[in-house]
């Protein structure tokens, strides 16, 4: 395999569904962490309820829209449940509660007694037919692209169109929110919530709004992941995914509107390029080994980023220096 095709494949992942779904999920986290300073270490829990909402609805023969509604309702409920008791306390409490609750959700979905609802450890599969996600696809069947490696089939293009479309809508919404006085209050809470309090802001309410909206966006990403795959499995929703999303947010630039989008694309490009290179070395590396190396490289990458460009790709250096004083 040539270098060119390795990079073509990596770019395909980066601008494909993987990149788009990560951009969406990370946008929610960016609102919470980047703008409001909330340490949500269980973002994957929101993705999980979104995905299971979609899958459970489809399993019962309900439409996609019911699936979205179910996922969103579950995310809002989860956000309020976790947020109301912890957001009035110091930030550490939220971190602990979110990371634990995401694990609890995964274990509950995975457990035998939940099988009738979540399918337990097997998850729920074979939903593509019921979901009919690809039914409205107007793109004629066939392959589109340049050369032999950089090619998308019509199904991939459809899911990309749908997901990136949603990313655009959510990004516009977040842009409108954070440029407003509402966004200004969020940033003031990130900087010093006592100062915001002393100036008459009901800090808990703003934090709750940001937390729930960010979680809801995460649930949308989860629902799309279930839609695209036509299945849901409990093994996917591990804490590593939350940290991958943090990497995306920091890589792109926390507290910038387009940071999560750029971060997601760059993240997947690097990850897949490393993967492609590892698979095409002069000696063989097993998949598990290359997976582990890939993760290690990502960790090293994140460290280098924090040392040399802590503000991320889009963040402002001036603002980052301001924060350090």
């Amino acid at each position: 395999m040539s270098w060119l095709s390795i990079f073509a494949l990596a770019l395909q992942t980066a601008i494909g569904f993987q990149g788009a779904s990560f951009a969406l999920a990370a946008s929610g986290l960016n609102l919470q962490f980047g703008y409001t300073g909330l340490s949500n270490f269980g973002h994957v829990g929101f993705l999980l309820v979104g995905a299971y909402g979609m899958a459970i609805a489809a399993d019962r023969g309900w439409s996609i829209w019911v699936g979205f509604a179910l996922g969103i309702a579950a995310a809002v409920a989860l956000g309020l449940l976790l947020g109301i008791p912890t957001l009035r306390l110091r930030g550490d409490y939220l971190a602990i509660v979110t990371i634990a609750s995401a694990e609890i959700l995964r274990l509950v979905a995975n457990a035998r007694p939940s099988e009738p609802l979540t399918g337990g450890s097997r998850g729920i599969g074979g939903l593509s037919g019921t979901l009919g996600f690809f039914d409205p696809n107007f793109i004629p069947a066939g392959n589109y692209g340049i050369g032999e490696s950089f090619v998308f089939n019509s199904r991939q293009l459809w899911s990309m169109l749908f997901t990136w479309g949603l990313v655009v809508l959510v990004t516009i919404l977040i842009w409108a929110l954070v440029r407003s006085p509402w966004g200004r209050v969020l940033r003031s809470i990130r900087e010093d919530e006592d100062a915001a309090r002393a100036l008459g802001k009901n800090v808990v309410v703003f934090k709750l709004q940001s937390f729930v909206l960010g979680g809801l966006i995460g649930a949308l990403a989860g629902a799309l992941i279930a839609l695209e795959a036509g299945s849901v499995s409990p093994t996917r929703w591990v804490a590593t995914l939350t940290f991958a999303l943090y990497t995306v947010v920091i890589l792109g630039g926390a507290g910038t509107v387009l940071g999560p989008v750029v971060g997601a694309v760059v993240y997947w490009f690097i990850l897949d390029a490393v993967d492609g290179i590892l698979k095409n070395l002069w000696f063989d590396i097993s998949d598990t080994t290359s997976g582990a190396i890939r993760l290690a490289m990502m960790g090293i990458g994140l460290m280098l980023l924090m040392i040399f460009r802590p503000q991320g790709i889009l963040g402002s250096k001036k603002e980052m220096i301001a924060g350090a004083r």
Binding site: A176, S180, S188, A198, K201
Partner: protein
């Protein structure tokens, strides 16, 4: 000074009654385990004047101050602000009612511009509500009015040139000024200043003093915690002295300077002399 005329005839004793107090506290107690940090029987903060809250280190000034503006919760006690109950009220509600505080260690919002620091302080902004915030036409005019007012205030505090800079870039003194300007942006009736002159160079102290007296001249009431006796003697109309959590003396600056209990409380640093110079 007409403002302090109102204090004519007020007894110089702890818990003295005043004609039209803006804040009245009764039986406020705050304990930390076995230690009683604050134990105030009765205090009336006069309206329209500058009241200094003084006392040696550990007297409970800042604790009492934090209690009054809702940042800490008392074990006992009640108080009213503008005649309405103010104990058990959350700090942001008190701020909206007109009791706006600053902090001893300035809390400027570092990664926000000076102007954004100011704009944040406007009350009841439509653009701060979740859904209306999305639609800019709903809050554009309000925002530009606030911006104008903010720039006026910044000009008064000589910070207008720095409006677009990050607040982190300000010097310690400029931060004090910004915090005071920001408090004014919130349109307070009672300004609570926690050691406004701490860590500020003498030249800037003069400028800060001018700003504080200007607040009074505009009809606001000021309650401030301070260590520096010179500052207290220069600008305050009324002085309340705390020691070991209690109010031990009240009076005009001149009364306090010669008060035995006050001198005693400061552990005899100025024993027998006049209370001038920094007492710490």
């Amino acid at each position: 000074m007409p403002a302090s005329d109102a204090l004519q005839g007020v007894a110089t004793e702890p818990g003295a009654r005043k004609p039209d107090p803006i804040l009245v506290a009764d039986g406020v107690v705050r304990r930390y385990g076995g230690l009683t940090a604050v134990d105030v029987d009765h205090l009336e903060v006069p309206r329209g004047v500058i009241t200094a809250l003084i006392g040696p280190n550990g007297a409970g000034k800042t604790t009492f101050f934090n209690l009054l503006c809702g940042f800490d919760r008392p074990d006992e006690g009640r108080w009213t602000f503008e005649g309405e109950r103010a104990d058990g009220v959350r700090p942001h509600v008190l701020a909206r009612r007109g009791m706006v505080r600053t902090f001893q260690l300035t809390k400027t919002l570092a990664r926000m511009t000076v102007l954004d620091n100011m704009l944040l302080a406007g009350h009841d902004q439509r653009g701060e509500r979740f859904l209306p915030s999305i639609v800019k036409p709903l809050w554009r005019s309000e925002e530009s009015a606030n911006r104008e007012r903010a720039m006026d205030l910044l000009a008064r505090f000589k910070l207008d040139r720095l409006a677009q800079d990050y607040a982190a870039g300000l010097s310690g003194g400029q931060r004090k000024l910004l915090e005071m300007a920001r408090a004014l942006m919130a349109e307070p009736s009672l300004v609570m200043l926690d050691e406004p002159m701490a860590g500020v160079n003498p030249a800037l102290t003069q400028s800060l003093l001018g700003h504080v007296t200007a607040l009074r001249d505009e009809g606001m009431s000021v309650l401030f915690v301070e260590h520096d006796m010179d500052v207290i003697m220069t600008i305050s109309d009324w002085v309340v002295c705390m020691a070991e959590g209690r109010i031990i003396a009240e009076g005009r600056p001149a009364d306090i300077a010669g008060n035995d209990a006050v001198i005693e409380a400061y552990l005899g640093i100025d024993h027998g002399g006049t209370a001038s110079g920094a007492v710490r």
